[in-house]
């Protein structure tokens, strides 16, 4: 049975409680290859290898079917905010009058 993108998403959502999650199917439709971008507070204080291990462990069941899993981003919310600054708020007053 093939693993669906929705399955990968729901497993990661329930196990790592991400504040941002982007799963893309890179298999061209066969459902066996995924690319994951994930932001979670649970990565706080953990090195990259540990973070990737957490994702791999969360997906242990799915990994039996998945042929390729690429974790392109495993960030803390803070790191994510630094990489993706929020757009300037048009409501806020200008910095200098």
């Amino acid at each position: 049975m093939a693993v669906t993108k929705e399955q990968v998403e729901s497993t990661l959502n329930s196990k790592l409680n991400p504040s941002h999650l982007d799963v893309s199917d890179t298999s061209g439709g066969c459902g066996a290859s995924y690319c994951v971008e994930i932001v979670s507070e649970q990565f706080e204080g953990k090195r990259l290898l540990e973070r990737h291990r957490m994702v791999n462990t969360a997906l242990a069941e799915e990994m039996k079917q998945i042929h390729a899993l690429s974790i392109t981003k495993a960030l803390t919310p803070q790191q994510w905010a630094l990489q993706n600054p929020p757009p300037p708020n048009p409501q806020s007053p200008p910095a200098a009058a």
Binding site: H52, R53, M63
Partner: protein
């Protein structure tokens, strides 16, 4: 479900302990450094070649028991698997990320001098 079968026998573990320390950098991959058979494995080979470090590659496609045993040995589900100074460093994504940040170069330099 309980897994009763383990590919990582004590003998294989002893062998792997020796193999990962046989060279400063050891890559378990699909194919060989001269003929990588997977894009992820190729990426790692190209990075290591560009950094000019000596490294050994082991083709896991030639030995199914080795392939299964390594997954347990490293607690890592995919290939390639990179070992530096006898220690598991990561897979392709980690190596790419560490290469971009300069961390890989640091770790390799330290390994070469040790």
């Amino acid at each position: 479900s309980v897994r009763c079968f383990s590919a990582l026998t004590p003998e294989l573990k002893t062998t792997l302990d020796k193999v990962v320390t046989s060279d400063k950098v050891v890559v378990f991959m699909k194919g060989t450094k001269d003929f990588p058979q997977c894009g992820f494995s190729n990426t790692v080979v190209q990075i290591l070649k560009s950094l000019n470090v000596p490294f050994e590659t082991i083709n896991i496609l030639e030995n199914e028991l080795l392939r299964l045993g390594l997954k347990e040995y490293s607690s890592w589900p995919t290939f390639p698997q990179i070992y530096i100074d006898g220690e598991f460093f990561g897979g392709c994504d980690i190596t790419v990320e560490a290469y971009k940040s300069g961390e890989l170069q640091e770790v390799l330099e330290k390994a070469m001098c040790s």
